[in-house]
């Protein structure tokens, strides 16, 4: 059943990539705001003459 090692290595590799991505996301501040992204997707940035208030933090 040596193929198990390959599958475990491959799975761990994928899991490792996701772990790195997770650490990056948290440190990058991706999850500091857990509400407004869900609302912001509802607005499409259509070209308009109105001035939209954009977050610039």
């Amino acid at each position: 059943m040596s193929v198990l090692y390959i599958l475990i290595i491959a799975s761990l590799l994928v899991a490792g990539i996701f772990l790195l991505a997770f650490i990056w996301a948290v440190r990058n501040g991706q999850y500091d705001d857990e509400y407004s992204p869900s609302v912001r997707i509802l607005f499409d940035n259509k070209k308009s003459t109105e001035d939209k208030s954009e977050k610039t933090d």
Partner: protein, 709 residues
């Protein structure tokens, strides 16, 4: 901050949407045909290109990779641009992605009916197409990651994370599972053998469901349901937990496809434990989707788009509740190999993937064409016909699966099988097969109504190829919320590059170590198990070509009901020369692992010519062409030498003698048939198939007792 002007590429979204519709109807039509073939086997017409075994992989590939695949691309290309506030990185890459994917599908439509197949479920396409899939997948990833790097929105919305996970996991799965040795153009052997091949196959099979049918669609759910309902997702925090929990759990659940096989017990248990745990994130996500519509149920009553989405998410909830249930050993013992599994995947496929795709298209196509949907009435009609179709499909299949399984396991008071003739358990559920086809017909009718509705919508609309948009550029330096992080230099663009290069390095490393691992483990544990003779090997390739493994398993599980019916249960050591494994996952017909020596050659000959003569009521197609056609032996020496490369111990230089041995064995079978007053054609294909079938599962009979365990 200065606003930048740019435009979204709608043309690519439109093209993928058209492809989704076209291949959706095609794939469902093929599904309807094979469903009817099971109820009315005469519909195989004795034509090889449309026999069940060859069309079934075409159906699965068409609905998974063509319908859902194009649906993924359409939805991702639409939402990704808007979520990142950026046009796709390269129009050229988008186009290559589109046309490359369609070309792959067309090559599947041609090659599968012709019998070019690896036999591995949901990965049947032969090696040149596998390479093409890899290239196109990389193009898609390149385009996506480059767009992410050029985004104007710092935060990556949860949907984008689902898309990234899809790309990474599918790349890995496809590469590991498609590791095969080409013998010629359009013929290859899996690098793995027997148990190992089965394990890789179901690690892939399970995760293909996870990362092709689930994660991208969850991403789409998190974008399109809020958009269609015009309200934010119920809990954004829950969606983030949903994502990370799901991807960390999903990848370990694969072994639940191999319960009661030669897979080590701890691996089976691990798969089961993770499958049970999966219930939490799956239902968290499902509820999050449904609760998004809280307070908007009045909209759901009016809007067909939302109706489709609600049923889709509900179907997701049902399928992900049933999945963990089916991975319990005691439930699996009943459900495995039956139509129960077929019902399960169709609740997911028709309900979750199908209905979410329809919902997305009903919302997106009017937006792309700047008009209203031509007819809400027709869309509502589609919704009800489709929902009825799912019910008419799933309920008969649950009934059929449970009925047949209980009949297989039924013993009389005297301890004999209550239904020793497999055919009895088939005729019992034929009505269910017919009812299921009716469900499929309803579902397909709904899809056709949708296409008509869209054609009308598109005619009255005005397509916007490049949608103007504006957004401020992402500030060049990131201002952290707290103190300065040490990793600031890497956290913008290089991070994604790092991830990408890790994948490349990782894949390279795994591929390098694989052969050494695998060849060594082919050392047989049962000394009487010998490699196939050249004729049997050719017969095995015919078995693969005709897709026999779609309906016949080769895995007798250690249950009394199975050992009574089929014979000694299957041992891992018996499959060490099986490149690829042919365990199968469905018993529409009986298991064949112990069929060797069970019937005379003449029985097989007559049975293949017309199954009903030997088993009245059989729903197996007839295979007249195998009797009329000469066996192609031009590649036999190459096949022998390929097998040796894979670790099968044919003596050095055996290639030169292989053909002589092949003809000798073929003649022997032919003269045997002559005694039974059957005049077989010299070197007919059927002789090779008979040789293989008569060999199946017989080696172990001469093994010493100590090795049989």
């Amino acid at each position: 901050m200065e606003k930048q002007h740019f435009s979204y590429d709608n043309t690519i979204v439109r093209n993928f949407s058209y492809a989704t519709l076209f291949w959706g109807v095609t794939g469902m039509l093929v599904g309807l045909i094979i469903a009817l073939q099971l109820a009315f086997p005469a519909l195989n017409f004795g034509i090889e290109y449309i026999s069940f075994g060859r069309l079934r992989p075409l159906h699965t590939n068409a609905v998974i990779f063509a319908f859902v695949g194009n649906g993924i691309f359409a939805g991702v290309y639409y939402s990704l641009q808007r979520l990142l506030k950026a046009r796709m990185y390269s129009d050229l890459l988008s186009k290559i992605n589109f046309w490359g994917w369609q070309l792959i599908i067309v090559s599947a439509v041609i090659s599968l009916p012709l019998g070019y197949t690896t036999s591995k479920e949901y990965a049947e396409l032969e090696w040149p197409i596998d390479i093409a899939i890899t290239i196109i997948w990389v193009v898609f990833g390149w385009n996506m990651f480059a767009t992410i790097l050029r985004r104007r929105e710092r935060h990556l919305y949860v949907a984008v994370w689902f898309y990234i996970a899809t790309f990474i996991a599918i790349a890995m799965l496809h590469l590991v599972n498609s590791f095969e040795l080409p013998v010629s153009f359009m013929k290859s052997y899996s690098w793995y053998a027997g148990v190992q091949d089965a394990l890789v196959q179901w690690w892939y099979g399970h995760n293909a469901v996870a990362f092709f049918l689930t994660t991208p669609y969850l991403g789409l759910m998190y974008y399109f349901i809020p958009k269609a309902a015009n309200r934010p997702v119920y809990s954004y925090r829950l969606s983030i937990i949903h994502f990370w929990a799901l991807i960390f759990l999903y990848i370990w659940a694969g072994p639940h496809h191999l319960l009661y096989t030669a897979l080590p017990d701890w691996a089976q248990s691990l798969g089961t434990v993770f499958s049970i745990m999966l219930l939490a994130p799956s239902w968290g996500g499902m509820l999050n989707g449904l609760l998004t519509l809280r307070g908007a149920w009045d909209k759901v009553r009016e809007d067909p788009t939302l109706k489709f989405m609600v049923v889709a998410v509900t179907a997701y909830g049902m399928a992900t509740f049933e999945g963990p249930l089916l991975s319990l050993k005691n439930v699996n013992a009943i459900s495995h190999f039956t139509d129960w599994t077929v019902a399960h995947v169709h609740v997911g496929g028709l309900g979750w993937n199908g209905f979410l795709t329809f919902g997305i298209l009903y919302w997106m196509i009017p937006v792309l064409f700047r008009t209203k949907l031509y007819s809400t009435k027709l869309a509502n009609l589609h919704f009800w016909i489709g929902t009825l179709g799912i019910l008419f499909y799933a309920l008969p299949m649950y009934w059929a699966g449970l009925t047949q399984s209980l009949m297989w396991k039924e013993f009389t008071a005297e301890g004999m099988l209550a239904y020793p003739n497999f055919m009895e358990t088939v005729t019992q559920i034929k009505t269910m097969y017919a009812l299921r086809s009716f469900g499929g017909l309803l579902y397909l009718t709904g899809a056709v109504i949708m296409v008509v509705n869209f054609i009308k919508t598109i005619r009255q609309g005005d397509f916007l190829a490049n949608e103007e948009a504006e957004a401020p550029a992402l500030s060049a330096t990131y201002i952290p919320h707290s103190k300065d992080h040490w990793h600031r230099w890497i956290e913008r663009k290089p991070v994604q590059m790092l991830v990408l290069s890790l994948i490349v390095v990782g894949i390279g490393g795994v591929i390098e170590i694989m052969p050494t691992f695998l060849v060594k483990s082919n050392i047989p544990t049962i000394s009487s198990v010998k490699p196939y003779t050249p004729l049997e090997l050719e017969g095995r390739d015919l078995y693969i070509r005709e897709g026999c493994n779609n309906c016949h398993s080769q895995m007798v599980r250690p249950f009394r009901s199975e050992t009574e019916r089929y014979g000694e249960y299957s041992k891992a050591g018996e499959f060490v020369y099986d490149h690829p494994h042919l365990w199968g996952s469905k018993r529409t017909g009986p298991d064949l692992h112990r069929v060797g020596g069970k019937y005379p050659d003449s029985w097989h000959y007559a049975h293949m010519l017309d199954p009903e003569t030997m088993s009245p009521g059989s729903i197996m197609p007839s295979y007249p062409w195998m009797i009329e056609r000469k066996l192609d032996t031009s590649k036999t020496p190459e096949k022998i030498s390929a097998m040796r490369t894979l670790g099968v111990p044919y003596p050095e230089g055996y290639e030169t003698k292989a053909l002589a041995d092949l003809h000798k064995q073929s003649e022997k079978i032919r003269s045997g048939l002559k005694k039974a007053k059957i005049e077989a054609m010299k070197d007919a294909e059927i002789l090779a198939l008979i040789a293989y079938l008569q060999r199946l599962g017989t080696d172990i009979k001469s093994a010493p007792e100590s090795e049989k365990k």
